[in-house]
Structure formats: C-alpha cells, structure tokens
C-alpha cells in the first residue's frame, strides 16, 4: 500500500471488492481551501511563487541598503518608483499576454509605442490639444495592431515574422515622421499625467491598475477571454466549436496595439517628448515578464496577475541595482543570475506547494 494511505491490511484476499482505500481519488479537491482549486488553482500557486521571489528581492534590498530601508518615507517612495517604472511596460505586457495566450507573439510593441508616441507629438497633432494627442496615439496603436492581426490571420504569416516586419517598418515610419528628432511635448495636460498624484499615488499607477483589472476581467469573465484560451490552447478545437479563429486572432493583435497606444501616452508624458528610438526592446521586456509570470509561450495558458508580477519583478531588480550603484556590467551579470534564480525559486516553490497541498488533501479524504 502506498505510504500516504497505509491503513489497509496487506494480506487482504485479492478479490475482496470495494473496501480498499481509493488510491487515486487524490485530485478531488476536498480538504483544500477553494482558492487552490478550480480553474485558477495552478496559476494562483505559481503567483505565490512570484510573490516569494519579490519578497526575496526586497530582503536583498534591505540587507544591502539598510540605511535607505530604515527610512519609511523613502521606502514608500521607492515602492511608488518601482510601480511607476513598471507602469508603461506593464500596460504593454497586458496586451502581450493576450496575444501569447492566443497562440501568437507580438515583436512590434516597442515600435508601436514609438510610432504612436511620435505621431501624437507632431506639431500638427499637438495643435489639437491633449484630447487629440490621446486620440491619435490610441488610433495609431489600434491601427497598427489591426494590420498585424490582418497579416497573421488572413495573410497567414507566422506571427514572429509578421510582427518583426512591423517592428522594422513602424520604427522606420516613426523616424520618417519625426525626422529622427526628439519631439518635445508642450502640452501641459499630457506632460502632467506623469507628475500627477492622486491620494499620494501617481496617476500612472492608477492607469496600470485600470488596464490590469480590465485585462483580468476580459480574460477571465468574458467570452472573448475564454475564447482566447481556446484559440491559443487548441486552435483546431476552437474552430470545431464554431469560433472564428481568424477574426479572434485579428482582435488579439488589435488589443495589443491599443495597449501600446495607451503606453505611448504614458511614456510620452514621462519623457515629455517622443522619438523613434523610444521604448527600445520593450517587446523583450514584455515577453519576458509574461513568461516569467507563467504564460506559456506556445499559447493556451497564462494569467494577467502573473504577468503583472513579472513586470514588477523586473523593475524591482532594476531598482535594486540603482540603489546599490552597481556598474552596468556587474548589473547585467547579476541580472542574468537573478532571473535564473527567480524562476528556479518559483518552480521549487510551486512544486513544494503542490506537493504539500496534495498530501494534505490525500490525508483528509
């Protein structure tokens, strides 16, 4: 008999029916709090692992700079700094998470942010005021996203290639529009977004929170979100279930583009300017954050909360380096190590927890 259920007599006649303990009824979910079960059980556990990584990073921060961490105002300020740093990439990552869950990838996000940023800061656009700038950034983002989606879904291009081409083209267009100059935003409302605080919390953080919540609801509570999982996890099944896979794919890229439009406004406001080279390699940051957050690169699985935690982990690492004044090269070497360690911690964490929970469950049934 298995150790976990070692209650039966070993010499029971072999054909005695029905009384042996149910060896494999383990996953029935009884005996564990409902938080762990159901559709998000694994995701939630994985997110706990990410939180553990975050805690570890903070502890390293405290250990290396006790002087700073002794000052509670500074600590609060630092948290806000980290969140502000995370905000722009965070918004992009929400869109990216949808695309990846839906079985695609979007390498053009950084370029879209740059294009939308440049577009909304041209002299002509700025003349329409803050409303016009926001409108144009969102429209540009959405439009480029739609083109991506068309190429992938109806043009049947591999997402990697389609969005790579768009990345190159959009940066080129942005350079063309801006004539490779950094375009300064002179709109006080736009510039004010980054410096406004509400109840002591920066507006940018509210925007991030709003996008994350909207993303979470969209993914978990709407048909769109649920179908995204289907389209990425088993496109054939999705098609057989009558889902218009192509149209859905199109919408996913459009969504990502829209998020880039929002991010463009945030970034422009932070920099009070825009240029063709801005948001450089955001695609890598966003993909990495999503994957660290548990999104499967092959599609069909992922959580918004995980992606958010992924982004925050990366910005916490950056912050850690800044407060320790590490040189770039040391910083990079350590960063590589931390990323690996983070994933390992999270995996171990995750496995241990699952084991713990399933053991717990077995004994209570």
């Amino acid at each position: 008999m298995s150790d976990a259920t070692g209650t039966t007599t070993p010499d029971r006649p072999a054909d005695l029916p029905a009384q042996s303990p149910p060896v494999h009824k383990a996953d029935s979910g009884r005996g564990a709090p409902s938080f762990w079960r159901g559709e998000n059980g694994e995701g939630a556990r994985r997110n706990l692992g990410l939180i553990a990584v975050l805690v570890a990073l903070v502890i390293i921060g405290i250990a290396t700079r006790p002087d700073l961490y002794g000052d509670s105002t500074w600590v609060w300020n630092n948290i806000l700094t980290i969140l502000k740093l995370a905000s722009v990439v965070g918004v992009v990552t929400v869109g990216m998470t949808f695309v990846i869950i839906g079985g695609g990838i979007d390498l053009s996000v950084g370029a879209i942010v740059a294009l939308a940023g440049v577009w909304c800061t041209t002299v002509a656009t700025q003349s329409y005021g803050a409303g016009g700038m926001i409108f144009s950034a969102l429209t540009v983002g959405l439009a480029v996203g739609l083109v991506n989606g068309l190429l992938v879904s109806y043009g049947r291009l591999v997402p990697f290639i389609a969005t790579l081409a768009m990345m190159v083209a959009a940066r080129g267009l942005a350079a063309e529009i801006s004539d490779k100059q950094t375009q300064v935003s002179s709109n006080a409302t736009i510039n004010g977004i980054a410096s406004t605080n509400l109840l002591g919390i920066p507006l940018l953080v509210y925007i991030l929170a709003a996008v994350v919540i909207a993303g979470w609801v969209l993914l978990n509570r709407t048909t769109f979100g649920r179908r995204t999982v289907a389209v990425g996890g088993n496109p054939e099944a999705a098609r057989l279930a009558g889902i218009n896979v192509k149209r859905h794919t199109l919408l996913l890229y459009a969504l990502s583009g829209l998020c880039c439009g929002i991010a463009a406004i945030m970034l422009t406001s932070q920099a009070t300017s825009a240029q063709a080279a801005m948001a450089n390699l955001y695609e890598l940051d966003a993909i990495a954050a999503a994957i660290i957050g548990g999104t499967l690169l092959s599609g069909g699985r992922g959580t918004i909360v995980g992606s958010l935690l992924g982004v925050i982990i990366f910005s916490t690492i950056t912050n850690l380096f800044a407060i320790n004044g590490l040189s770039t090269e040391a910083q990079n070497m350590v960063k590589g190590g931390i990323i690996v360690a983070a994933v390992l911690v999270q995996q171990v964490q995750f496995r241990t927890l699952s084991q713990f929970l399933s053991r717990n469950r077995t004994t209570t049934t």
Partner: protein, 545 residues
C-alpha cells in the same frame, strides 16, 4: 471481435462477400434502397448523395450515399481509412465536399463552417478529443456558444446547465469548474459528450465515442442515446465494435474505400459475416489465435510492490518469456500509470522492476529500453506520434539508431522495415513516406503498435493496442502478438475490452482502483466474473467516502 459475452465464441469466421458489395437490396449504389420495414419510423433528416472529398493524393470519399432518419441510431461501419471520419467532418462543416449533394431536413444545404452546421442542429463528438485543456469543464461544454450577457459569460447559468447535463450523463461528480487538464481520459470523453448535448441538436454524430470508455460507461452512453432518440433526435454512431452496433444501432451503412457498399442494413439482423465482408471485401478469419500448448519460458519481468501515490499501490506481477499477460480493469483504474511506471516513464514511490533477474534503474526509459522493453502508449497523438513526420520515421522512432552506422542513418533499410510492418498490419495508405498526420485514427494506432514489432524487444508493454483498430486489422494484430510470444517475447497487455484480454492473454490480472484484485489463468475467468470484479465505484469519486 467477439460478439458474445464469454470466451466461447473464439472462432467466428465470415465468408467472402463480393468485392462490389451492393446495398441492402439494390445492385447499384444509387438509388438508395428504401429502409427495411422494421426501421424506426421517422422523417429523413439527412440525405447525402454522391459525396466526394479528395485530399492531396487521396480520394477519401468517393461517392457516398447516406440517409438518416429522425429518432434512429444510424451506424457507420468501415475499415480504418474507409472515410468515416471524413464523412462526418463534411457533415459538421469542417471539410467542404468537392461534389455531391447534402440534403438537410428536406432542403439542400452546404455547411461552410462548423458554426453553420451547429446552427442547423448538428452536433459532433469527434474521434480525436477536441477539448481545450486550460478551460474548465463548463467552459469546454459551452465553448463557442456560452450563455452570455454583453459579452460577459454567465458563469452561474453555465455551471448550472453543465451540472444538469453531466447529471444526465450519469456523472454528477465531475465539477463544472474543474480544468479539463485535470481530468482522466474517460472524464474528457464525458465532457465531449456534454458539449454535444449542450446544443439544441437534431442530429448528434459520435465518432468512436466508446473507444476510451469502459464497459459500464458504454452502458451509460447507450442509455443516453436511447433518451435522445426517444425525443426524435437522430444519432450517427461510429464504432469498430460490432456488438455495440447490434445493441444500440437501428440501421447500418457500410463504407469501403470511400464508397457506400451497403446502406440501411438492419443493425440487429444482418449476419456478422455479411457486415464484415462488405467492410473488408474479403474473408476475415476472425479469431483469437490459439494458445500454444507449450509452457511459457522463464521469468522475464518481475514487478514487486510497485506503488505510486494516488495512482496504484503495491502491484506485484511477473511475465514469463512467451507469455501474454493481460490486465483488465476500468478506465481510470491506474493501468496506464502502472505500465508507464514499469517502463520508467514515471518514477515509482516504492517497489522494484527487474527484467530477466536484473533490476532496472527506476525512472529511466532509456534503461528500460536497454533492458529490452518497449511500450505502445495509450494516447497516440500526445504520447507516441510525430504527426508531421513520415510514417516510416514514426515506425522506426525507437529503432532507427539500430539501423545506423557510426551515427549515420540508413533510410533505405528503415523504409524497408517499415514497409514490412505496414504489410503485416495492413496499413492504409501503404506508402510509408506519407506524413502520419494524414492517416485515419485507426491507421495511426497501427503505426504506434508497429513501432515495437521491430527490433529485438524482449518485453512488450501494450496499452490499449487495438483502440480504434478495425475488425480485420485487429485479427492481424492478434496474430502478430501471438507470433511474437511464440518467439519468446513477453507481453503485458492493457485493454478495456474484457473479451480481448480474456481471448488473447494467457494469464489475466484484474485491477480496480490501483490495486490488483485478482490474478488467474485466462481460461478460469469469464467476462461476467471479470466485470463483477472490476465494477466498483465510478469515474471520479467512486465509492462513497
């Protein structure tokens, strides 16, 4: 296939039919013969005339006639690759026919996509499971037609309706919120059925639904089918198990090489030999091969006290050279896990495995293969096949390095070996350079099993080797397995078909809920005894806690 319940009908042979088998009464495939007088009365809901569908290089449907009436169970019979799945995919709007007419409820119809077909009232359970692993049971059941308001899923309503349907299906214990990923294979099949029932369908198509179901589950399925037909819903039922067709079917249409060779035969009364000959066009010596008189050789495999928490516990067994040992049990009784653990694909919590007296390093497939083991796993698509690769590379997947010299592969030899296997198993199409993806389900299964017929495997672990394999090929497969045993190979066979275990194996182990509850020579057991032993508890929750 054994049609009776016991081990007696070990030898049921059918005679030759004519190659161009006519329909039930008429000489030509067209016009369709009227249904026999004793057919279930009802309107014709679906009529196919001369439907043709070609894939590059293959004419999968070559003029199919089919007529389905409301309230009947219409069975489709045919060998592997005959075109059954293609036909139902045409009906479901997955494929568009090249030519031919589809009449749906009296009017010509074209189903351009699955959605149109579903809207028209055709629901389908596909041969290959079509579920999304990371969605819940309820979300899968209602995928594509979720109850919703303003784009938001009405989760409460969806869960309630799912629970209702699962209850009707006899599985109230499956929680609608559980991820499908966490369900065993049989549970997934239930979800597939729940999906079909979630539509307001007038015609439900089931493509080999019983392949992954255990005996009691099949009974359950039949109860539901009867309920459906009583409401006037038509059912198209595909299976390779003739006894099922006798039990549930009303009329039978037989396909061969993409053509209707017989239509609207009465399911209960048509002699088996007729059916078989119309399917295969040749004589099938439908037998389990004789057991050899000679005693089996020395002990080859010894498993002692093998356990894995949550799956099976304290399993001890042995297989001797030249012996076929069968394991019977319900789906979900842990047999697959046992086999995988013996094979080193899973790590045992306790216990040992040894081959020919030498213990095998646990948790290492490589060690098991080096010790002479081979395993044909249960789920062909996820566990066994490289779908995009040619057949021969799939057949030689476990052995290609044996044909290699200094690391360089010998493709010619591989192809020759694969050709040999293809001949033995009657693979269709025979060209071993085709990608496995384009094979029908049963032919894919043959590739999986064929893989281990090559090379010098001493101990063969077969997990549901005949799942989805047609009558003719099945007989061939039995012969091959027996021949291997005669050459001294030990075979450990898992099958959910009790007659198969009893007919093929020398010795039988019965498993229930992860434990071996009985071990006896096959001759000492009959089907009812085994079923009694096996039945206890149901799919998920089982015995009351």
């Amino acid at each position: 296939m054994s049609t009776g319940a016991g081990p007696e009908p070990r030898r049921a042979s059918t005679e030759v039919g004519s190659e161009h088998v006519s329909t039930g009464a008429g000489p030509a495939p067209r016009p369709l013969v009227e249904a026999p007088a004793d057919a279930v009365p009802g309107d014709v809901v679906l009529r196919l005339t001369d439907v043709v569908k070609t894939f590059p290089g293959v004419r999968a449907l070559d003029g199919v006639q089919l007529e389905v009436r409301a309230g009947e169970v219409h069975c489709l019979l045919g060998q592997n690759g005959a075109g059954k799945s293609t036909l139902i995919k045409v009906l479901a709007g997955v494929h568009r026919p090249d030519s031919g007419q589809v009449q749906w409820r009296g009017e010509p119809a074209t189903f351009a996509n699955p959605q149109t077909a579903m809207r028209a009232g055709i629901a389908t359970i596909y041969q290959e499971l079509d579920l999304v692993e990371d969605l819940s049971v309820a979300e899968n059941a209602f995928l594509g037609h979720e109850p919703r308001r303003l784009g938001f899923v009405r989760r409460g309503q969806m869960a309630r309706r799912t629970r209702e349907i699962l209850g009707r299906l006899g599985h109230p214990e499956i929680p609608p919120g559980r991820l499908v990923r966490a369900l065993p294979a049989a549970g997934k099949q239930v979800v597939s059925m729940a999906r079909a029932l979630s539509h307001e369908a007038r015609l439900i198509i089931m493509d080999e639904p019983s392949a992954v179901l255990a005996h009691d589950e099949v009974g359950n399925l039949f109860r539901i089918i009867r309920e459906l037909t009583a409401q006037g819903i038509a059912v198209i039922y595909i299976s390779h198990r003739l006894e099922e067709i006798r039990e549930i079917g009303d009329r039978v249409t037989v396909l061969k090489d993409g053509r209707t060779t017989a239509a609207n035969l009465p399911a209960r009364d048509t002699p088996t030999r007729d059916l078989v000959s119309r399917m295969t066009g040749r004589t099938i010596e439908y037998v389990f091969p004789d057991r050899p008189a000679a005693e089996a050789g020395g002990e080859l495999l010894r498993v002692a006290g093998l356990s894995r928490a949550g799956e099976f516990a304290d399993v001890s067994l042995s297989v001797r050279a030249g012996e076929i040992v069968g394991i019977a049990g319900l789906v979900g009784s842990g047999r697959s896990e046992l086999l995988e653990t013996i094979f080193g694909a899973r790590h045992a919590d306790a216990g040992t495995v040894s081959v020919a007296g030498r213990s095998v390093r646990p948790g290492s497939v490589g060690a098991a293969v080096r010790a002479g083991m081979g395993m044909a796993p249960e789920e062909r698509k996820s566990q066994a096949l490289l779908l995009g690769e040619p057949i021969y590379r799939n057949v030689t997947l476990a052995t290609f390095s044996r044909y290699a010299r200094l690391g360089f592969t010998d493709t010619g030899r591989e192809r020759a070996e694969a050709d040999r296997i293809a001949d033995v198993l009657d693979l269709r199409p025979r060209d071993v350079r085709r990608p496995v993806r384009t094979l029908s389900g049963g032919n894919q299964q043959k590739v999986v099993v064929g893989r281990w017929l090559l090379g010098d495997t001493r101990l063969l672990l077969l997990d549901e080797p005949t799942r989805g394999v047609d009558v003719g090929a099945r007989a061939e497969l039995y012969q091959v397995i027996r021949q291997l045993a005669a050459r001294g190979v030990g075979v450990l066979l898992v099958s959910s078909e009790v007659p198969e275990v009893l007919g093929l194996a020398d010795r039988v182990l019965v498993m229930r809920e992860g434990r071996v509850v009985r071990e006896a020579p096959a001759g000492e057991l009959d089907e009812n005894t085994v079923l009694d032993l096996v039945m206890a508890g149901s799919l998920l929750e089982g015995t009351p806690a």
